[in-house]
Symmetry: C2
Subunit: 656 residues, 2 copies
């Protein structure tokens, strides 16, 4: 092998390098595209995926898709879950439906948990990246990082050096193990990047040096970036083996279009999820699988006792296992679209970045678990939805790097909760009806249903969340001004009326992911309460002072009043909530009314948030829609919010 001459290699500078074009990488890049960050986005595979892989979309992720403008594409393509049914053996050992429950938590979101294959989701995000970046940012493939050096950068601004290697186009195609049906066996058991062998012998034309301000490793369970950072992936792999099968079913099971959990007496369990286009996905416990000896090169690196012999796993064998569990119902496949098998394990990375916080990991690189709870892709996307706007703020010089601390504290807590839930759920799924209480099983699923919507994530106190440090994430914490608005949780939705045109909207339909913090001034019934009107005018004057100006792309100021329309005059509102641009064209879209509409059921927003129309509240939202702070709707309250913001926003020195 010859060592290539790196002086002859092409060099480039980017704000951020995103390694890995899976859900976490796409979501990171989406934020960067939206916020105008110079991003390089690479993936080791030659093509995007077309079948299989993850498929569950939790309500919270659909809410996030809406803030980027493509929830409607999802709505047209997904299968959405509304009911979950449970099948268990009767006294003769024959399975039958014994319960029906709502899937998810009715009312927690405007969206329900939905299913569609990962490739479609990546397409929607990819199209949005294309639109936001005007075609500037594309996934470059097949490319892998071979060298990563932190603090070996070209200068202090670009401290990370990464050497990338272009692969031949056919290099990273997954081994299909001789199967005609596409499958995920390769990815599942070998991971994506174990053929890596450094830059020795590489042709200089295939190499590229990237100097980056930040790097995010979204490179999967077997993350090369994680290994390069020497971060441990802590946990263990069990001996439970499950198969996954995507088929167009021929069956007489009456609930085939609902979510179905089946526990058979002796043949194992099934979780069935209806998919788009009439497909179903079956998760099938495989009780009879051949194992290889796990020795030498063949050793299972992550601690499982035995290694499944994947050459013995076929779509037919998985289907046969399902047929046994289905009895007395029949099951055949008119079409088989994809299959895989996995050994259940649960692991969390011990750190989510290098100590200097220049290189981060996200998604499967941080946490791996069973797919039962349908969380993998969702939690991965929410990792970078949490991280990327923070990096963008720092890259733009708008915020202090200290905000980056919150990524690991916020997301590791979610990963830990997920692993704990998955361990309980997997054990219950993999056990026989005799070994566990079926009632306990259903109750764990039900208790977990709020968690699995993604809507109950509760971030701890930090520089970005104003609440007492001793409040646990299992506790909902709120200001007495807004008892139903939990600080650290996502802003719940309510249908309000846009003041200028009387259009009813769920307000979150307009609180898009633009990168803006948002100050929501709930001024109550100001038109009939002179004290509130005075507070409103005071706030208007305070915010209008030149020394208090925070640019619109950083802080958007919105007013939500609760006065009857007949008492309200447009000209009464402070100009800061209806500003004009340099040409004199007014922004009409910042003032909302929580009043009845002539067309829709509105006027319950204050109630939703627990805010009094006589007192009001001032609420600060983060760019990712989480409630950062709640104070009173007065100049003093707004000063408190400014004081909070000035701890991390660069150059903000509000007047006293």
């Amino acid at each position: 092998m010859t060592v290539p001459d790196l002086h002859a290699v092409n060099e480039s500078k980017v704000d951020v390098l995103v390694v890995g074009a899976g859900p976490a990488g796409y979501m990171a890049t989406l934020w960067f595209a939206r916020m105008g960050i110079k991003t390089k986005f690479i993936d080791k595979r030659s093509t995007k995926i077309f079948t299989g892989q993850a498929d569950g979309l939790q309500p919270r992720v659909l809410e996030v898709f809406e803030t980027f403008g493509f929830a409607d594409r999802a709505a047209k393509e997904v299968a959405t879950g509304f009911e979950a049914t449970y099948y268990e053996p009767d006294e003769n050992g024959r399975i039958r439906r014994i319960d029906v429950k709502p899937e998810g938590v009715p009312g927690i979101s405007r969206f329900n948990g939905s299913v569609v294959h990962q490739g479609r989701i990546e397409t929607w995000i990819s199209d949005a990246i294309d639109e936001f970046s005007k075609g500037e940012i594309k996934v470059e493939r097949p490319i892998i990082p071979e060298v990563l050096d932190i603090n070996d950068g070209v200068d202090a601004e670009y401290p990370v050096k990464v050497v990338l290697r272009k692969l031949p186009n056919d290099y990273a195609e997954p081994n299909q193990f001789g199967h005609k049906v596409e499958n995920g066996l390769y990815r599942q058991f070998d991971g994506d990047q174990n053929q890596q062998n450094g830059i020795d012998g590489a042709h200089v034309n295939d190499l590229e040096i990237v100097w980056a301000k930040y790097v995010i490793g979204c490179d999967g369970a077997h993350s090369w970036v994680r290994k390069r950072l020497d971060i441990e992936h802590k946990g263990e792999t069990t001996d439970f083996v499950w198969g996954v099968l995507d088929i167009l079913p021929i069956t007489d099971l009456p609930d085939i279009r609902k979510r179905v959990s089946i526990h058979s007496v002796e043949d194992g369990s099934i979780m069935l999820i209806p998919r788009e286009k009439g497909l179903v996905r079956l998760y099938i416990q495989l009780r009879e699988v051949d194992h290889e000896e796990a020795v030498g090169d063949n050793a299972l690196p992550n601690g499982a006792k035995k290694r499944v012999d994947r050459s013995k796993i076929t779509a037919d064998r998985i289907l046969q296992a399902a047929q046994k569990i289905f009895k007395p119902y029949t099951l055949e496949a008119a079409e088989t679209h994809w299959f895989t098998a996995y050994q259940i394990g649960q692991r969390v990375a011990t750190a989510f970045s290098d100590p200097s916080q220049r290189v981060f990991i996200a998604g499967d690189a941080c946490h791996t678990h069973s797919p039962k709870a349908g969380q993998g892709m969702n939690v991965s996307m929410m990792d970078t939805f949490n991280l990327a706007w923070k990096i963008a703020y720092v890259v733009k010089g708008l915020a202090s790097p200290s905000i980056l601390d919150t990524y690991e504290t916020e997301r590791k807590a979610v990963a830990d909760d997920l692993i704990a839930f998955d361990q309980r759920l997997s054990r219950l799924y993999s056990s026989k009806p005799g070994e566990i209480s079926m009632q306990e099983f259903r109750s764990v699923v039900e208790q977990g249903s709020a968690f699995t919507t993604g809507c109950t994530v509760n971030y701890d106190a930090s520089i970005l969340i104003d609440k007492p440090a001793d409040k646990s994430r299992e506790e909902e914490y709120h200001s007495p001004l807004a008892p139903k608005l939990n600080i650290g949780m996502r802003f719940p939705d309510a249908k309000l009326v846009m003041q200028c045109d009387a259009r009813p909207w769920f307000i979150n339909q307009q609180l898009l992911s633009t990168g803006q913090f948002r100050l929501l001034v709930f001024i109550g019934d100001y038109a009939q309460k002179p004290a509130l009107r005075e507070q409103l005018n005071g706030i208007g004057q305070y915010l209008a002072r030149p020394e208090n100006t925070v640019p619109e792309p950083v802080l958007q100021k919105l007013l939500i009043h609760a006065s009857p329309q007949a008492k309200v005059e447009w000209d009464d509102f402070p100009l800061v909530f209806r500003p004009r641009d340099e040409r004199g064209v007014m922004n009409y879209w910042l003032i909302w009314a929580d009043t009845p509409s002539l067309h829709a059921e509105t006027g319950h927003g204050y109630e939703t948030y627990g805010i009094s129309k006589d007192v009001g509240a001032a609420v600060l939202l983060r760019p990712d829609g989480y409630v950062a702070m709640v104070t009173e709707p007065t100049v003093e309250g707004v000063k408190d919010i400014y004081a909070f913001l000035s701890k991390f926003l660069v150059g903000l020195k509000p007047s006293a």
Copy 2:
């Protein structure tokens, strides 16, 4: 001039030739693409339009867009109207707001009247045509028909001969009259096709002979096809002149984002419509306009006494007229996007087709009027939404040509109603506050608001509508089995539950424009009423008999029950409502429940239609969603529906 040798000209055969790519032409072609009809689609302009033109979308048209799958694109781009305000002079002659009303009719549709420029609408339809026809059907431009001969066809199947002429690419660009701002003056006053001069002198390479089964002339107010058919365009043009202006406004009018009607004392009236992207459209009465002498070549062909001198009309003059009316409010334009002017006139074609019903006209070719009611584009699209599926049925040999009669009877009635409404509205808009009662003005607008939603169109008795021939269209007619389901009107919406997966849907979200007639069997609470269960089984057996089979693409059979879910078993439903394909894969999507959902407010469908859960009803819908017939949910009732269908469906001879 030399006469070209037509023997040397290219020839082709098509099912349908659509002349003119405006709203009517696009909607016709959309149906043909959806139903697999070989269509040639031509337009005389070199390019699609990018600004100006029509902009109003009524709720009914948005419902139709939903049935073709692109209402979501509309939702993202349009400005939607919710409130209408009225400004009139006070005792000092200063205008001020004196009333606020809901725009449209709350609750009549899930959609509200919306606004976006015509070019966007044509793009959505064009994309859908592309998708349905797999890229087969595209607008060909710039092309005009020069010869049209009926019964001079190549054979009896293709009886219409049309000679087309390809124009040079710059030929049909509208004269902009020296203005930098795009405008519609040319189109408004000269029409699109007066430079036509036959095939003499044409090069054979620029000509093409098309043999067509059917032709639709969607070629505008000055329709060449209409003239070629010698159909009179009956009515008159007034001397009222209005300007139209699309601007990004700078103003202090507080209601600038609502629909605004202003009557000033002496300076005329304005109708203001908020548009997408912060724009507004102003319709402004022009009291001071120069007229040309209308003599000789310059004569106004359609009867107005004087012809507006269009060279004197500019965007600035229209804006100045608006500013006078706006006082004491200010109005400036940060951007001017488009303008035009028009003389109000109202005309309806005396026939909508040639006597042999091979060549039809639609849209502006059939009816012209003022744009005040926002109806032009909508009624035009609904014309061909009514016509094209009928032609498709005949072309495919599925239906007798006798159904084509209904196009003129159904749509001329709508055109007549529109003209009557427009005459009243235009007079009230063009009058001074002293001349008319302002209260009368508001009351006419309000009464008209149901009509302008497009949802109240009521088709007369015909081969396609089963109701007494003496029922006027001003009367709602229904069966006692479903008192709220008006026969001849569009099927109203209700939120029901899909039986197989418990998903709540507004049923019209699933009754897509596929070209299918639909038999909806409302079987009531069959699970608790043995008589109804027996009826259901009887219907299932009747429909399953081979001699009663109507192919699924012609008649879709749906079941809507009202039994509690706990009493319902999937296996109980007749197989005709859950059929299997040749592989054994079941169609799960034909059975609905009008029951409460665990997630959404459902279970009021029977109530919405006035159907008793103890009696039920059988309802036949046409492919365009209009209620054709209501009978009882028994074998006898279904036989009645089959007898009705067999009057026009070819080859259907139902068993007795």
